[in-house]
Symmetry: C2
Subunit: 227 residues, 2 copies
């Protein structure tokens, strides 16, 4: 795991620097060639996408390459989601790689982060669930290179549906939401889950379709999960 | 531009391979060290985040590091958005780096892509506008490593608000939306735009706050824009 985390961190810094660099074209091309050599090295052995990474554990909601929370993902800030009372909370500072309007977070990046956070609020009940609806209201632009706080909470559950909501604020003004979000998650029926995830195998080749309690109020898992 | 595109493509392949690799920990650590050497090389000269990259042109909606459409962004697939009649359309195939549930696109990635596409449908009217509301309905999971088609259309405009909608489907089943989305974009008032973007300068240090027609029906720009 330490090596996966190390490479994730190194690639994250490389990607961030690649959008802010002003070195000349020759340097960019030389860096690209060196990056391709690294790709070839990593490509010496790979898994198919339907086989889970060896470090993943679906039952514990551990996904090391999740593009929001995965420490091994160069895309992920990564968001470290923790429980705080009944809420899920994460602090993060985002760089130029996440930019939409000049100097601000891409609106779709806000939705990506909130989908994960609101999913974590739903999964805090121990469920494997998938996003069914996501709504975002953008009150003000979210600044880059500024400490942010993201918060999500469980609102209600009925049958296979779980509703959560939350928002993004500046850490120095945490009660003024820049973005507000609400999501509905649905736990797939057994047959759907099988249809969607029946091909998934773990690193040893064994079937690894996630199982979970069928009652939305049962179980307590950890906060970070697939969404 | 060719060098920026080359590095973007090389880093995109490196990130994708980094989530699928099964090489041993020693190889991962060695790759991380080599990646850090590349970061140091690119970090020899950088811009602050409020200074636009030299290749960007806000008036032409050209953002080379946009995390959805930017050819220089390792995060971006990149989505190539084109006009087709009154619609905006993009075809894309996404890999393991974009995964949420095992084998499927992260729900938040669907929202990231659709925010950009629906923004392009709004910006096709020539406006600089920012996302005010985004709604997504997830009908079925979106498969990875599968050709997809994303489509967006202009619905209506009133004053500073523009509404667009669209969806994501498999390219081989383009009329069955897996994800449906709707967005409201707002053109900031002049004072807001100044407050939000007044610090932005171009690569030569000149102020580069975007300007645009104030009438939502005026002007015709290109399809890809900040969102």
């Amino acid at each position: 795991m330490a090596a996966v985390v190390d490479l994730g961190a190194a690639l994250r810094e490389l990607v961030e620097t690649s959008v802010l660099t002003t070195v000349d074209a020759g340097e960019l091309v030389a860096t690209a060639a060196a990056a391709r050599a690294l790709t070839a090295r990593l490509a010496a052995a790979t898994r198919p996408v339907h086989q889970l990474p060896a470090l993943d554990d679906l039952q514990a909601f551990r996904r090391v390459y999740n593009p929001v929370t995965g420490p091994g993902s160069a895309f992920a800030p990564p968001l470290e989601i923790r429980r705080e009372g009944g809420d899920v909370v994460a602090e993060v500072t985002l760089g130029g790689a996440y930019e939409g309007p000049p100097g601000y977070l891409h609106g779709g990046m806000s939705s990506l982060l909130m989908d994960q956070l609101l999913g974590a609020a739903a999964h805090a009940t121990g469920l494997f669930a998938m996003t069914a609806r996501l709504e975002l209201d953008y009150r003000a632009p979210v600044p880059l290179q500024t400490p942010l706080v993201l918060r999500g909470r469980f609102d209600e559950a009925a049958g296979r549906r779980t509703v959560t909501s939350g928002g993004i604020a500046r850490a120095d003004d945490p009660h003024r939401a820049l973005v507000q979000a609400r999501a509905v998650f649905v736990t797939p029926r057994s047959a759907q889950r099988e249809a969607y995830l029946g091909r998934i195998v773990d690193a040893t080749g064994r079937q690894a379709t996630p199982v979970q309690p069928t009652d939305a109020t049962a179980g307590r898992g950890s906060g970070s999960a697939p969404a």
